[in-house]
């Protein structure tokens, strides 16, 4: 068991090293084989760990002491419990499928090997993040995935826009990381250790005398870190821009795994959050707002990937809503199902983009159904799953979150409801515009349309299957009891997280499910009548939009606001520093020194005449001086 845990992150690291070091010496096929094998081995390893975990408590694996300084000690220790074994499965499983997809998707790209090296490195860091048994190890993974995300967003670095998007993501993440760092320092100050096991299962947290305010500050700082990584208000704007990277990256990093790191972190530290109701409230509100904001922006986006990106933002918001309500297992459950259907949707969009020769605007698509049947079918499944129609995965997880919201706060429940309706609408809008109707692109593109190769459709099919069945692992309590089915997922996570949600009444729950499903179906019908029935197509960029639509279409002007609030003042400040501090003062000192030296040199050089006799005179004078100094 311990050996297994040690091995999980090792495989991707090794394949990263091989591909990264040999780079051009490997053929593309070999690089792909190394990369996929690395992740596959990890996946197999994770399955074995998972099976072992089924009837096993948490396992702690110490690799070595890392920092020991005075009171402070941090070791590279892995913690494998039920929570992390779930994440291991998702990361390596979805990661493996996306690796396979990438083989087909990136085949023509020059940076093929570089791409796989980054992907493997990303998997490694992600595993480190999930496995770390103290905040420091988690932080390494945290920063590592941020770095890989940066490299992969700017993967096509020849275009300025991609680099800017990468920088934006990096800087935004840095803001969150600062929160994480501060939280880490505070935790050390307050508890004297960063170890999860010591803090949580060791009972240090329970017996602590740390004040409530301190705990609130710590958890808030942690949440700021989660905000940055998981794209919550106000740090969400980087995620849509991150779509500049290759589509598999968007699927793996910016939908399925990395952005869920924030959720993982909150779930991991749930004992702390449970002690601070104020923070939980805050988390729930932020999550609900983000969900609403992301979903509403998604309504009017015309870029296939942007729609999915805002959808991700909104789904992450739902997860945080669940966390804020104390329904940790529901949040993690949604992470799992979301990983399946969102990865599926992203890969499906990747397949579409691949077939369209790089075109991402859904106004130029349409009628792809007959050209790409497999992609269409899987995309449809993904869409249904995310919309929350039973019995697909999205239904179960979303239902759990809504149920939790219902019991806790009716307003939040209504918000969540609206979000899921919006989600259904924009997802079906996307589906209809892309796959139904008639083709609206150029003739050339139409000629080029084709179903993607097997390496790309295979992951789609597998993910589609999981999108259908994954929901059953978390069968609702209220319903399950009646039919004798356990909510296995909840029970499994019980050892790691302490969910505090009460059971809903059967009839309430059933009514709620019925109403939700009915509303969603109505919304889908509306979307169908608009985009298939009338064949409506979103207006061109240039057309002036009015009122609320204009506001939403321009993403609430948040980017512009940030520009005015942060970017421009910083630009001004740096211009000041450049013009005054750097050019005048620093350069002045340096140039002044140079000039003084030159000037002084021009006087002193007279002494250096090259004449031996003059040297002898100086020599004698100097000796005389030395004599005088020594003798008197």
């Amino acid at each position: 068991m311990e050996q297994l845990v040690k091995l999980v992150p090792l495989f991707p690291l090794i394949s990263f090293a091989i591909i990264g070091l040999l780079n051009r010496k490997l053929t593309k096929i070999h690089a792909a084989i190394f990369a996929c094998t690395g992740v596959l081995l990890s996946f197999v390893d994770s399955i074995m760990i998972f099976i072992a975990q089924l009837n096993h408590g948490p396992v702690e694996v110490k690799i070595f002491d890392w920092i020991v300084a005075g009171d402070f000690s941090a070791s590279l220790t892995f913690l494998c419990d039920h929570l992390s074994s779930i994440f291991l499965l998702v990361i390596t499983g979805v990661g493996f499928l996306i690796h396979i997809f990438s083989v087909g998707y990136m085949m023509e790209d020059d940076g093929f090997r570089r791409f796989f090296a980054y992907l493997n490195l990303f998997i490694f860091f992600m595993l480190l993040l999930v496995l770390g048994n103290n905040f420091l190890v988690m932080f390494i993974g945290w920063e590592g995935v941020g770095f890989c995300s940066f490299m992969l967003i700017g993967f096509w670095f020849k275009e300025e826009a991609n680099n800017n998007a990468a920088k934006k993501a990096f800087v935004m993440n840095r803001v969150g990381d600062l929160g994480f760092l501060i939280a880490m320092c505070l935790i050390f100050v307050a508890f004297g250790t960063l170890d999860f096991t010591k803090l949580f299962s060791g009972g240090l947290l329970a017996s602590t005398s740390v004040s409530n305010e301190m705990m609130t500050i710590i958890t808030l700082c942690l949440f700021v870190g989660a905000m940055g990584k998981s794209a919550q208000i106000p740090l969400y704007t980087w995620l849509p821009d991150a779509m500049a990277g290759p589509t598999p990256v968007s699927a793996l990093i910016h939908a399925a795994t990395m952005v869920t790191a924030g959720i993982y972190m909150v779930a991991r530290t749930n004992f702390m959050f449970n002690m601070t109701p104020a923070t939980l409230e805050f988390v729930a509100i932020i999550g609900a707002l983000t969900a609403l904001l992301g979903a509403s922006i998604g309504l009017f986006q015309n870029d296939i990937k942007k729609v999915l990106a805002y959808s991700t933002v909104s789904q992450l918001g739902l997860m945080f809503l669940a966390l804020g309500l104390g329904a940790y297992s529901a949040a993690v459950f949604h992470v799992v199902t979301h990983a399946f259907f969102k990865a599926l949707l992203f890969l499906g969009s990747g397949s579409v983009i691949h077939s369209m020769g790089g075109e991402q605007d859904i106004r130029k698509m349409g009628g792809l159904k007959k050209h790409m049947p497999v992609t269409y079918m899987t995309f449809l499944i993904g869409t249904i799953a995310i919309s929350g129609i039973p019995p697909l995965a999205g239904f179960f997880s979303k239902d759990q979150i809504l149920a939790a919201a219902f019991e806790h706060n009716k307003l939040l429940f209504v918000l969540g409801m609206i979000v899921s309706l919006m989600t259904a609408f924009y997802m079906f809008r996307l589906l209809f515009l892309t796959f139904h109707g008639s083709f609206r692109g150029t003739h050339e593109q139409e000629h080029h349309l084709h179903e993607s190769p097997f390496t790309m459709t295979f992951p789609l099919i597998v993910l589609a299957i999981f999108s259908v069945i994954a929901g059953f692992i978390g069968f609702p309590h209220a319903l399950g009891e009646q039919m004798g089915i356990h909510n296995w997922f909840d029970d499994f996570l019980k050892t790691s997280v302490s969910s505090v949600h009460t059971e809903a009444h059967l009839s309430t729950e059933l009514t709620m499910m019925g109403i939700t499903t009915a509303l969603i179906l109505i919304v889908i019908f509306i979307a169908r009548s608009i985009y298939v029935g009338k064949g409506a197509i979103p207006e061109d960029e240039k057309v002036e939009r009015k009122g609320l639509q204009k506001l939403i279409y321009n993403k609430y002007y948040v980017d512009e606001l940030y520009n005015a609030l942060f970017t421009r003042p910083v630009d001004k400040l740096s211009a000041f520093f450049q013009n005054f501090m750097d050019n005048k003062i620093v350069d002045g000192i340096v140039n002044g020194l140079g000039k003084t030296t030159t000037k002084g040199g021009s006087y002193v050089r007279i002494l250096q005449s090259g004449n031996i006799n003059a040297y002898a005179i100086l020599f004698i004078l100097a000796i005389t001086l030395l004599f005088l100094i020594i003798l008197f």
Binding site: R605, G610, I612, Y615, A616, I617
Partner: protein, 106 residues
């Protein structure tokens, strides 16, 4: 011979050596001919030799005289090489004037 030096104080030898040394140094400072410079250096070396022998005799220690041996050896070697270098310089620059040979500043 012990009586010989007993009549002369050691300080006299020190003064003479200092004077010889000073004359040699003066030569190095004022003469422009590199060969004469060389001779002046020999003069300075000899001033030191004289002092060493004087101390050796007055203190009854043979080591001082052995030092003089070594100084002579080194001086001989130095002159051989130095003069060879001078000849080379003369061949190239056609002069031994230190005013002209002022390349030592770079």
């Amino acid at each position: 011979m012990q009586e010989v030096i007993s009549g002369i104080p050691l300080v006299n030898y020190i003064y003479i050596s200092a004077a010889l040394f000073g004359i040699g140094a003066l030569g190095v400072m004022v003469r422009r001919n590199a060969i004469v410079l060389f001779m002046c250096i020999e003069l300075m070396l000899n001033a030191v030799n004289l002092l060493l022998v004087a101390f050796s005799s007055y203190l009854g220690d043979t080591s001082g005289q052995v030092f003089v041996f070594f100084i002579m050896a080194v001086a001989a070697a130095e002159v051989a090489v130095g003069l060879a270098i001078l000849i080379m310089i003369y061949r190239n620059a056609n002069t031994t004037d230190t005013e002209v040979l002022n390349q030592l500043k770079w």
